[in-house]
Each structure stands twice: as structure tokens, then as C-alpha cells.
Symmetry: C2
Subunit: 197 residues, 2 copies
């Protein structure tokens, strides 16, 4: 039995659902699963390292790479570019290693178009009230920003049927186990394995 | 989030691969996953209970149920009938409970035709020599019986690409984790969940 090409996992979900925390708990438990590093034009924050937290690019560099088709998806937020470079991902996949992207929902939908083989995972809140409570609990945003996030979340949750898996983040331990199970089970799919006898 | 209809899991693999042991280790770790009970015309062995280990039927009863279409699959081995009654399975599934069948490969292929939604899992040995060693290690069978089992296994292993998952039984702990992951991940499939928001 030999691993063929690696699997691309796309993890998404509304802002505030806890997908980053979930993933950071599961990643150390899995071998040969690499977290994709995004590119951005925003300034590095203290402690952020180029190639580790982000690839930091100038707006000119970013635009030139867009023209080269170097991104699986890209978008602008608050006047900065953000994007997913395809080359590092494809290097891992061709070595038979799996890659996971943590990305907002709209970017995930773009990747679904370009990479129909990707395993698409949506992290959802147990209910809308829980998501609202989490967003308000952050206490870092104005009311109108929270209202906008909730409006966006409503639309995003309607996209769930387009995903392969939905992990409900009700209880962190349970959700962790479920997310890990999705990674392990996808590796056990016959389409990702070749059997030599 | 609500569970819809349950999922039917079909677990198969060559004789001697250890699928029964694997399943008996994983079943107690999962809620609301029921093991399907087969029907047979062979005599109960000491300690075997009707409805628990098998449904024990007379040949007349069995043939009449075949005519009624009461079996998902059935076959004859060593002069006895064996079959999978569909009614108890469908009762569980309609209650949103999952059911797992442990069955030989040919029966699994029959179920795959009738229930294309079933999650098909093949338990494979790490290599052919390991399977051979396990079969010989039992020391309960004559050489020609072992040779026949190995010949059958060779053909069965060629069916792997028709299955959704292949779990390699190299190390019991690892294989257990992988099989459990398949059960959990299938439950997280969006097609098995409805999200109400």
C-alpha cells in the first residue's frame, strides 16, 4: 500500500466559529499534514515571520503574482491583499503529503471550483445564538461590525450543503475528535491509496 | 443540526484479515452504531443465542424469506444458508441510527448494488505474505483449504478500488483508530446532516 498524491483539505467557517483554535489542536496530532501559509500585503505584526505566519509581499509583488496565476484564490480586505500561493501546496501534494488551508468561506468556494478533488470541511456553530455570543464576547468590535459579521455568517451557513463535511463546534474535545477523524478517514479513501499485491 | 437517516456501513475483507477483531474493538467506542445480525440455517453452537449471534431459521423458513425478498444478500456455504435480513437494518436507519455489517467480500458486492449509499470499507492485510502467515497460524485447516482461501483472497483484493475506504490491518491500534475515524467522518458528511438556522 502506497500513498499516492496528497489530499488538499480546505477548512472554513464563519468568523468567530473557532476554526483556528480547532485546527491548532488537531494539527500536532497528525503526521505529514501541512498548514498552508497565506500571502499578504499587510505589514507584519510583532513576532510574525515571513514564510511562517504569512508570506509578506509588496502590493506590486502581489499584483504581479496574480497576473502569473500564482494564487489558488485571493481577495482584498481592509485595503490589503490576501492570497493562497499554489506552488508550496502542490510541492507537498506531489510528495504525497496532505495540506490544509484555513480560509474564509468565499475563498473556500473559489478553491472548490479550481480543485474539485479537495476535501471541503465547514466548521459550524451549534446554533446562530452561540455564534452571536462568541462574536460579542470578543468585545473588540463595534456593534455595526458585529452586525455585518452576523449577516455574512447567515449567508455563509447556507453554503454548507456544498461542502463534504460539516464539523459542529459545540464541544471543543468532540469537535477535535471529529475533525481529526475527517483527516484520517480521507487518507483511508481507496482513491488516495494504491494497493500492490 | 439534526441527524437524518442513519448510515449503512459494510465492512469486509479476506478471511483471516482480522476484520472481526477490529470491529469488536471499535464498536464499544461508538454510540448508536448497531451490528447487523445475520440469519442462518446452521445449528446454533453452545452459547449462541437467537437474535444475538444469529437469527436461526429452518431451511424452509429461510427459502420462504428469500422469496419474500427479505434479505439484502444471501449465500450458501458448506450446505447452510447465510443471509442479511433487511428489516432490522432499515428500522435502525430510519431512526437515524447507523448500522454496520460484517460480511464476506462477495456479499458486500451484492449490497453495494442494492444500497449504493452504503459506506463500503475493505479491511486489507499489509501484504499477501502476512495474510498467508495468519491463515497458516490458525492451524485449524488442511493445506488445500488454506490454498483455496488464499486464491479467493487474491481475487477479493482486486475488488478494493470498488470500495470507499481501505483500512490496512498492519497494527491493530492504528487500524482501530482509522476504522473509528471512518465511522465518525461519515457521520460528519454534510449529506447525512441537516443544518437548521
Amino acid at each position: 500500500m502506497k500513498e499516492q498524491k496528497g489530499t488538499l483539505f480546505v477548512l472554513t467557517g464563519p468568523s468567530g466559529v473557532g476554526k483556528g483554535t480547532l485546527l491548532s489542536h488537531v494539527l500536532p496530532q497528525l503526521d505529514s499534514l501541512f498548514l498552508s501559509v497565506s500571502a499578504t500585503t499587510r505589514e507584519p505584526r510583532p513576532g510574525e515571520q515571513d514564510g511562517v505566519h504569512y508570506y509578506f509581499l509588496s502590493p506590486e509583488q502581489f499584483r504581479s503574482r496574480i497576473e502569473d496565476g500564482a494564487f489558488l484564490e485571493h481577495a482584498q480586505f481592509s485595503g490589503n491583499y490576501y492570497g493562497t500561493p499554489s506552488a508550496p501546496i502542490d510541492e507537498h501534494l506531489s510528495r504525497g503529503e496532505d495540506v490544509v488551508l484555513e480560509i474564509e468561506v468565499q475563498g473556500a468556494m473559489q478553491i472548490r471550483e479550481k480543485r474539485p478533488d479537495a476535501a471541503m470541511i465547514f466548521v459550524a456553530p451549534p446554533d446562530f445564538a452561540t455564534l452571536e455570543a462568541r462574536l460579542r464576547g470578543r468585545q473588540t468590535e463595534a456593534e455595526d461590525a458585529i452586525a455585518l459579521r452576523l449577516e455574512t455568517a447567515k449567508h455563509e451557513l447556507q453554503q454548507i450543503p456544498k461542502f463534504d463535511y460539516v464539523v459542529i463546534n459545540d464541544d471543543l474535545t468532540r469537535a477535535e475528535e471529529e475533525l481529526k477523524a475527517v483527516f484520517l478517514a480521507e487518507r483511508a479513501r481507496t482513491m488516495h491509496r494504491t494497493f500492490h499485491i
